[in-house]
């Protein structure tokens, strides 16, 4: 689960990580009401769950309150990578002497939380990681002990020279780690962490993601969820035991199992089509799940044909086929469908499906080719 920058800043503040003052506003009127009348340099930032908002024009500086109102008006309603901006953060801008990067992530290789830091913070951090990886300091953290102060200092000393600055930075790192583990985070970044001319170390921008599998024990984090249009669809699917990710193509696919679902998308692409989605219906033959899955699939107007790809394992194909027949009976659609069934009891399953009159094939390749043909009609 993702949260907005302003929410990450609130969590930072709660844990004692210093952040400049700021207010979140949904309308121009709110900016007029909630931002103090004092004229000072502020930054107006779009609150969206996609990267690259700065380059898209979603971050603007304002010298006066009137300017802040004007800039907010420009950003609210703006389209950033298909997402409509519904909120802006109006925050005090600070003078920056130097920018740094710090981040925490669950590291697959070390099977631990890894702390990363760099003296080259800012928007080009990914480029830094690619071109000069030695400029990214990494430290793996022992889950039983946590991030000890001496470890935080060891990192801070590589970023700062002045003892007071080192102390401020080390403090922030320890607090960020505590926040990370307390909230079952999967990503926590401060980029940039800045040093001001008056030698204050501050978090200017924050990003946090959370482990969906841990939300059951993170009620406060869950209550912060502000999903956009596409995310809502994915959440709705999750609630029904389905895993759905919308893509840009026109061939809808419904598959049992995540790996097979990806392989199905690959197959469609390999034979010249474009998958409209990733959709994993899991291991059951429950007809309701198929109906739910079909409804989610077909709510995407781009879908011109549907490929259902089922490999029967413990769930037998004849059971799946019976589920499909019931489900397809309830779904009224003109979108052409091709079904592929294979695995345990495939023959019996195929016999049952035949009564629907829908094209049924035995291999993934045929199914992909048929779905592509059907999408062109």
């Amino acid at each position: 689960m993702k949260i907005h920058e302003y929410q990450a800043r609130n969590l930072f503040r709660k844990y004692g990580i210093p952040v400049p003052e700021g207010v979140v506003c949904h309308t121009v009127d709110e900016v007029k009401q909630n931002v103090s009348d004092k004229d000072k340099l502020r930054v107006v930032k779009a609150q969206v769950h996609v990267g690259g908002r700065g380059k898209a024009g979603g971050v603007k500086l304002a010298n006066t309150k009137a300017e802040a109102v004007e800039k907010a008006g420009q950003i609210l309603g703006m389209d950033i990578k298909g997402i409509c901006v519904e909120k802006v953060l109006v925050a005090d801008a600070v003078d920056i002497e130097k920018e740094f990067y710090v981040g925490l992530i669950n590291d697959r290789n070390t099977k631990s939380v890894t702390l990363m830091a760099s003296a080259e913070g800012g928007v080009e951090i990914e480029e830094v990681a690619k071109v000069s990886p030695e400029k990214i300091i990494k430290m793996s953290i022992d889950p039983a002990i946590g991030l000890m102060p001496w470890q935080a200092r060891k990192i801070a000393i590589q970023l700062f020279a002045d003892p007071k600055e080192i102390r401020q930075c080390a403090n922030i790192l320890v607090k960020l780690y505590q926040l990370y583990v307390d909230t079952d985070s999967s990503l926590a970044e401060i980029n940039p962490l800045v040093l001001t001319p008056d030698k204050q170390v501050l978090a200017i921008d924050g990003k946090m993601n959370f482990d969906d599998n841990a939300l059951y024990r993170q009620k406060e984090i869950l209550s912060m969820r502000e999903a956009d249009k596409d995310e809502l669809k994915e959440i709705e699917a999750n609630a029904k035991g389905l895993s759905y990710i919308k893509l840009d193509g026109n061939i809808g696919c419904m598959v049992n199992g995540a790996g097979l679902a990806m392989a199905t998308m690959d197959m469609i692409k390999l034979y010249g089509g474009e998958p409209a989605n990733f959709l994993d219906i899991g291991g059951s033959s429950n007809p309701q799940k198929v109906v739910d899955a079909m409804n989610i699939l077909l709510s995407d107007q781009n879908v011109k044909s549907v490929m259902i790809n089922i490999f029967g394992g413990i769930t037998r194909c004849d059971d799946v086929a019976r589920g499909l027949v019931i489900a397809l009976d309830q779904i009224k659609t003109d979108v052409p469908i091709v079904i592929r069934l294979s695995g345990t009891n495939a023959k019996e399953g195929l016999e049952i499906i035949k009564q629907t009159g829908l094209p049924v094939v035995e291999t993934m390749r045929e199914a992909a080719q048929t779905a592509i043909e059907l999408s062109k009609k």
Binding site: I105, P143, G313
Partner: protein, 290 residues
């Protein structure tokens, strides 16, 4: 021969009284797996599918000499179950449970290391040595004894590939579904080393997915350490970029993670990568000179 499990493996089922635990206990027993017990706190003395139930893994190990366990408990209790098995001296723990929080798996890792426990999963279908032992939820009927080892991060995609191997006359030594979670037990390289040392395995099929760099590491391992041929497939070649975890994700896996990068790594290690699953049996036969 085989890796990890054989007809002598003694298995207990953690969460045996649950719906899934009981159902798959019956399936495993029907296949011939030596299921010697199960656990469910407070239910000692009961029987499930003719198997005795114990209060704890420790009790079960003392009474039965079990050396492997399979976990079917809900996600919130999975890490606890893994650690319990590890402390009780179980050598191989297979965690079928999905949706286990990552921080829990991070806490499990040092415990496994301390006791030398091998973990498969979480969120995996389990493993099978055909005609000898099945641990997990794999559909037994598609497997056949033979000389090909298989490791996969997927479930149904694995079945799809195994089915194709079996239909084309290629049986298997041991097939292992290691699970697709970010932090899990044994990785590709751990298993590749076991297959390399197993006299019965003559070729290995590796089914990877996008994300992380386990495949890149596997490619490096194959190039440097393996004498046996490996054939690979990567799922998710069409997945769009951008579905990733912000800067930190990109940084940690800088130079790896995408299908393209994985395929490149395998090609550099002389590992053929199938464009679609159906090509896999042919590539294996080619490597075996069949």
């Amino acid at each position: 021969m085989s890796i990890l499990i054989n007809k002598y493996t003694k298995v207990i089922v953690q969460g045996i009284t649950g719906r899934d635990g009981a159902f798959h206990t019956s399936k495993m027993k029907a296949y011939g797996t030596n299921v010697v017990g199960g656990t469910s706190p407070g239910k000692a003395g009961q029987e499930v599918e003719g198997v005795p139930v114990f209060n704890s893994v420790e009790d079960a190990v003392k009474a039965t000499g079990a050396n492997a366990s399979v976990i079917f408990v809900p996600a919130a209790f999975a890490a606890d179950a893994i650690m319990e098995a590890s402390y009780a001296g179980i050598e191989l723990v297979v965690c079928i449970t999905e949706h286990v929080p990552v921080q829990d798996m991070i806490k499990v890792t040092p415990v496994l290391k301390k006791h030398g426990t091998k973990l498969i999963g979480a969120n995996c279908p389990g493993l099978i040595t055909p005609d000898e032992c099945l641990i997990g939820i794999l559909p037994a009927m598609i497997f056949k004894k033979g000389n090909v080892g298989l490791i996969s991060r997927s479930g149904t995609l694995t079945y799809e590939v195994v089915n194709m191997l079996t239909e084309s006359g290629l049986g298997q030594t041991t097939c292992v579904g290691i699970g697709g979670d970010a932090v899990s037990g044994l990785y590709f390289i751990d298993l590749l080393e076991m297959y390399e040392n197993d006299p019965a395995t003559e070729a290995v099929v590796l089914i990877g997915e996008i994300g992380g760099d386990a495949e890149e590491q596997a490619a490096r391992f194959i190039k440097e350490k393996m004498t046996k041929p490996v054939v690979a497939f990567i799922a998710g070649q069409s997945a769009p970029p951008g579905k990733r975890m912000g800067h930190a994700g990109a940084i940690i896996s800088s130079g790896s993670g995408t299908a393209e990068e994985k395929i490149k790594a395998f090609k550099a290690a002389d590992v053929p990568v199938a464009k679609e699953p159906r090509e896999i049996p042919g590539l294996v036969k080619e490597k075996l000179g069949l």
